[in-house]
Amino acid sequence: MADEDDIILSELSDDELVLQMHDDLYDGLKEEIEEGVNILLERGWAPYDVLTKALVAGMTIVGADFRDGILFVPEVLLAANAMKAGMAILKPLLAETGAPRMGKMVIGTVKGDIHDIGKNLVAMMMEGAGFEVLDLGINNSVEKYLEALEKEQPDILGMSALLTTTMPYMKVVIDTMKEKGLRDDYIVLVGGAPLNEEFGRAIGADAYCRDAAVAVETAKQFVARKHNQLNG
C-alpha cells in the first residue's frame, strides 16, 4: 500500500496495531511484523496473545484467501516468512512463560516427493496453535515415519504429498502401522494438492485436510476427542 510508509506502528492503539499487523502479514512485510511483535511485547502483552491474536489470526486470513484463489503461492510464502520472523521472537518467550500445549505432531512429505511448501505451512500453523511439531522434512520412507513415531510418541502423524504418483505411499505407511498394531495409537492426517476426502478415507487416514487452517482445526478436534476418550 502506497501510504503505508506513513504509518508509525508504535503510535497505533493495540487494536489498531493488531489489525495493521494482519495487513502487514498479508503483504508479507517481515520487518514490520517483527516491529509489531516487539511493540506488543513492550506493552506487556503475553507472548501467547501476540502469537494467536496478531500472527495466527492474520495468517488465517492469508490461508482463506489462498483457498479462495485471491492469493497465490508467492504471496503465501512471503506471509509465512513474515510470520516465521515474528514467531522466532516469540518462541523462546513462549517456552519461558508457558503456553497451552495442544499436543504433539510428527509431520513429513512422503517418499519420492520433495514438495514441502504446504507441509511447512501446516507445521508453522500447528506450532502457532500450540502444538509441538517435529518436522521430518521431505522424502520420508515408512521406516523413517515409524522410527519418529516410536521415538517422539506424538498424538498426530501428518503426511503430505503433491504428486499423484507419490500420494499412494501414504497408504503404505498406514498399512504398515496397521500390521504393527500401531494404527489406533495415532491420529493420522493427510494433505496435499491432488488429495481429496475420498482418498483420505480410502487409505484409512483419520482425515484429509485441504489446507493449513483446516489441519489445525481438525487436529484440535481429534486431540480433544482423544482426551475425552481417555478421561471417560
Binding site: 508467492p74 510464502l77 516468512n81 520433495i114 504418483t165 491432488p194 482418498f199
Partner: protein, 226 residues
Amino acid sequence: MTATLPEDRILAEEGLAPEAAGRVLLIACGALAHEILALNRKNGWQHIDLQCLPANLHLWPDRIPDAVEAAVHEHRDQYDSIFVVYADCGTGGLLKARCDTLGVEMVEGPHCYAFFEGVTAFLDRADTEFDAFYLTDFLVRQFDAFVWRPMGLDRHPELRDMLFGNYSKLVYQAQLDDAALDAKARDCAERLGLSYERRLTGYGDLEPALAKAALGERSAKPPGTF
C-alpha cells in the same frame, strides 16, 4: 481441425474453439495444441477436430474436471466420439473418475511429462528422479508465463530457493529437435539454479493414444444413454 494455431498466450489463457467439423473431438489441454496439430498433419486424421481448454487451468488443477465435463456436454451431440487429451494432471484421480462417468476416454499417466517420455519409462525412473523439474516445448516457450511469474520470481527472486531448493535438475523433454528451444531451456535451468539435462522424447505415448482416439473406439455417450 484447424491448420494454424493462435499464439501461445491465447492457448494458455483462452484455449481454442473446435471447428465443428469432424467425427471425433479431442478435448485437450492448450499446452498440447502444437503437438496434436503436428501429429494430425503427420497421420492425416481428417476426421478429427480439436478443442483446447486454457493451458493455465494447470494453475488450478481442481478446476479441470468441471471444465472437461462442461466441454463434453457442450459438444457430445455433434461428434461420434470424444477423447480427452489430459493425463491425471494433479487431479488426484478425479478427472479419470469424471471421464468414466461421462463415458469418455483420456490419456493414461500422471501428467504430460510422463506420456511424452513414455509412462512406463517415466514411472521406472520415479524412484531416482523425483528431484527433477520438467519442462516440455510449450513450457519452455511459456516459462515466464507458467513458472517465473506465477511463482512470483519476477517480483521476489528471494523466493527461488524456497520454491526450487529441493530440486536438483531441470529436465527438458524436447518434442522438437530445436536448438533455440534447447538454449532457452538451458537458460531456464540457470535461472532456477538447477543443473540441466535435455531429452529428445518426441511425442512419446501421445501418438498411440491419439491413434486410438482417431479410431473412435468408444461412444461419446455413456452406456445406457441415447
